[in-house]
Structure formats: structure tokens, C-alpha cells
Symmetry: D2
Subunit: 156 residues, 4 copies
């Protein structure tokens, strides 16, 4: 009996599982996915002592911010790639996901990263066969914009 083909939801679930459970550094950051749809990708994480970069202000390390922006940008670029591949097998998708890589990243730090928790979202600015460009934002739990970024990703 033929199995049903994988839907976009099935394939995005693979992606979410990889990002949340199989990338150790994302667990160091405490990232969890709030939304993972091609039009709306959002992740969240809580402030913890280990994420501090400024010992006087008690604010996020700039590297935490760049890490989260790179992650949510990559997640968005990958979701956009997967959307074009509905019909491929899960194995093919997993292989394509493993090949996605950041080409370059720019981060603009707008305010000190203070807060109890943070959310980061991204949207696609350009996507072609080989390259995706995404725009990312990081807000704290008061809705203040902490940082923005732009990432260019190699997709397959």
C-alpha cells in the first residue's frame, strides 16, 4: 500500500526537530521554536547567567545575539528552501538541510540586551535556487528592539 507523500508540515517538523534537538549549541542558547512556517519563523529563549556578556549591565553577550540571529535566519532560509521541495523524501530533505550554510552575516546592535526573555523572528528578502537572504530581529519581553541582522545563506 503506497504511503502518503510528505506534506510541507511533515517536512518542516523534521527541520524543527533538527534545530531544537540535534544542534547542541542551540541547546546551550536555550532556543525553542515558537513558529515554523515559511511566512512566520520565530524562536524564543530565556535570559540565564551563562548568556551574560556585560558583567556590569547584566546584558546578553553580543555573541548570543549574533548566534540567535544567525540561527533564526538559517531556519527561515531553510524553510523557504523546503517549501520548494515538497514531494521530495524525508531523506533528501534531511540531506539538503545539512548542506545549508551561512555565507555572511551582518548584525546591528541597537540597545543593550536586557530582559527576562527574548524572541527573534526573520523573513525572506530574496530567495533563488542557490542563495537566500533574510532579515532578522531580536526583541526582549518588553517588546523593545534589541538588534537586527541580515544573513546570506547557501541553499541547495
Amino acid at each position: 500500500m503506497p504511503t502518503q507523500p510528505d506534506t510541507l508540515d511533515d517536512l518542516l517538523q523534521i527541520l524543527g526537530d533538527i534545530y531544537e534537538n540535534r544542534l547542541p549549541f542551540n541547546q546551550v542558547l536555550g532556543l525553542h521554536i515558537i513558529s515554523l512556517e515559511p511566512d512566520l519563523v520565530e524562536v524564543a529563549f530565556d535570559m540565564t547567567d551563562s548568556l551574560i556578556g556585560n558583567y556590569v549591565q547584566g546584558s546578553l553577550h553580543g555573541g548570543v545575539i549574533s548566534s540567535v540571529l544567525d540561527t533564526v535566519g538559517g531556519l527561515t532560509a531553510t524553510a523557504g528552501m523546503i517549501q520548494k521541495k515538497v514531494g521530495c523524501t524525508k531523506e533528501e530533505i534531511a540531506q539538503n538541510i545539512a548542506k545549508v550554510g551561512t555565507i555572511d552575516l551582518r548584525v546591528d546592535y541597537l540597545r543593550p540586551g536586557k530582559g527576562r526573555s527574548f524572541t527573534s523572528s526573520a523573513s525572506i528578502m530574496r530567495i533563488g535556487k542557490k542563495v537566500a537572504v533574510t532579515r532578522m530581529e531580536l526583541h526582549n519581553n518588553h517588546g523593545r528592539l534589541i538588534a537586527v541582522g541580515t544573513g546570506t545563506y547557501l541553499i541547495a
Copy 2:
């Protein structure tokens, strides 16, 4: 009897101590300082499971790379600032260090972050009264260039 004024070496030692021991996220990254002089800033860290970002290749998370580049760039900008402040007290220097912040960061990812250990160095491209721009590199233990970056820092 008057005490001797602090030398540049004394002041840079404060900076090194803050970066290695008082910034929790630098300890998550496992960063230790190899050299901290205005002309030669270099940090190193070992690959560990928690720094992995690509579960198939076993390579560094892009966020680890951006974090390290931001850190070594900030260290270099701060060392450059301190060099201009010889004669200030340790308390003044500590206050100035706490105010240094990244304005923006660009990272170019050139090769997968594979290796047993990594070193990152930076140099100053521009330094004024308020802003420093630095150029950073990350190499693996085989001497392969993994990533480069540029950071713009607010100094005081």
C-alpha cells in the same frame, strides 16, 4: 609614599581578567587569551560537543564563530582604547571597559568550522575617540582560515 602609576601591562591585565573570568558566555565558549597586547590580540578555544552546529559535519555552529570574532574584535578595540588612557586609575579603566559595545559586526564564513582547536586574532583598522573598527580572523589547528569578520565598536 605615593604608589607607582599603573602601567599599560597592569591595565591590560584587568581587561584580560574580565574577559576570561567575568563574562560567563566567554566561559561557555571556552575562550582563553593567548596574547593581549595592542598589536597582537589572540584567543584560543577547543572543539567540544556543545559547540557543534552542523550535526552531520560535526563543525562549529555559525554562532560560535560570530561570538568568538565579536569577542576578539571587542578585546582588540578595548586594548586600543586603554593604550590611550595610560595614567588613568584602574577604577576609571574598569568603568570604560564596561561601556564598550559592539555597534555592528560582519562575518564571512569561508570554510566549515572543522578542527580540534581554533585560534582567533584581530587588528585595528581605524581608531578614534569614539569608534574603533577591527578586522578579525579564525583559523583551525591546521592553519586553515575558517572565517573573517569586521566589527565596529563604540569606545569611551
Copy 3:
């Protein structure tokens, strides 16, 4: 009899005059100002043969795009600076304008620069005593987004 102090509108008019009439390269680009208020800065220019960079597509040179984005970003950063200086004399403002400089610029090219005319606008993302960061966009006459950019400016 004391003269009336200069209003923000007076001071912005000086800025607009400098950008449109005293910066030769802006005339090469054919830039004219549509709006120059701290909350809404917009410039426009027409396609001409001399601005072509791709001889097959007949589209704008990437350097025209980066030039326009840098210009509208600088105009916006400068207008933001002037807003804080109401009460200064015109001479002081002119001196401050001459000292504004771009620290760094990032441009993301999203679509070929095709069109009969183009508009570019910018907004301030961060402004302090010494540094302003702006976000810029370029659209063609069909409302298509051609490019976006981020600029970091030294202000005085």
C-alpha cells in the same frame, strides 16, 4: 534688534541645499530631494544611460545603488543630528554637516535595478551623541524593492 533664531525647517533647508547643489557627485547621480524631515527622508532620480552597469539588462550599476543608499542614509543621520541642535547658528550647523562621515555601509541587492525612475528613503534605527545607524531602501517606479542597506555614520 535681535534676529529670530533659526527653526528646524531653516536648518534642514541648509542641509538640503548642500546635498542637492554643493556635492558634485549627487548631481552626477541626478538626485533630488522629495522630502527632508527627520521622520521622512526621500530622494528620487531618473534612469539615464550614464547610470547603467549591466549592458545586457540595461539596469543600474551596483555602485549607483550603493551611492544613493549611502547618500539618503547620510542625509537621514544628519537630519537626526540637526534636530538635536536647534538653537545653534547656521554656521555651526554647516560645520557639523561637513564633519558627518560614513563609518560603514552594507547593501543587499535584491532585484536588478530596472525602471524609468527610482526613489530611496531611510529611517533612523539608532542615534546617539556620536553615531547614527540608518536603514535604507530603493524602489523603482513600479514600487518594486530593488535594494536595501544599512549605514553607520559618525555625527558630531
Copy 4:
């Protein structure tokens, strides 16, 4: 009688001719090619009144600088692409050249663009099948480093 295949030198000559003679905005900038080999790409141009962006300092417009860096980066990426295509016909090469486009560009402005003439060179940091990343520099006639940049290019 079969014709001799085109050598790399033949193909690079096509590229140089397009950049110098068929891209109008490069003529506005007054760019001429000093060297065009995969390992050494260098262009030069003279200061003229029309390139001025700061009316007090008499220095280059930031957009001239970003334009030149984008151009020399694109020239270098394209030369790198052509090197892999020796054996293709001139027509194929011309088509591939027309498809090269800048994905993104970062420019760091280090010193005012003062001088009688300027040279700009670039080198390849990363080149794959679809994307090239280059590093660019601009010096004045006194050998002072005016600006550096990084460009990411789509190649075919």
C-alpha cells in the same frame, strides 16, 4: 580548418573590454584597468571635481568609493569564474559575464578620500560554483589605505 581555442588571456580581454568600454557608469568614474589576472586585479582612477562628496574637504563621495570597490570585486569574482571556464566559447563567456551580480557589499570607510589619484585591488576569499566572496582595498596616490570592503557575488 579548426580555430585555436580561446586562451584564458583571450577571455579575460573580453571581460576587461566590457568593464572599461561597455559599462557607462564605469566611464563616469573614469576607471581604467591596470591589471586583470585571476591573481591580481587592479583598477585606477583620477580625482575629478565631479567625484567630490564633501565640499569642505574636497574628498571623494562615499558612493564613488563603494562603486569602485563593488566594481573591482565584481571584476575579480568574474575573472575567477572565467578561469574555471577555459574551453568555453567567447559567446558563452559573454553570457556568463552578463549574469554576474552582486548579492551584498560591505564597505568600511577608514580615512577621507583625498588624493590626486587612486588604485583599488581585490582578491578572492572564497569561490564555489555559484558564489564568490572577495576582499577589496582602495589606496590613494600616497599609498594611504582609504577604504576596504567585502563583496558577495552570484556567479554562473
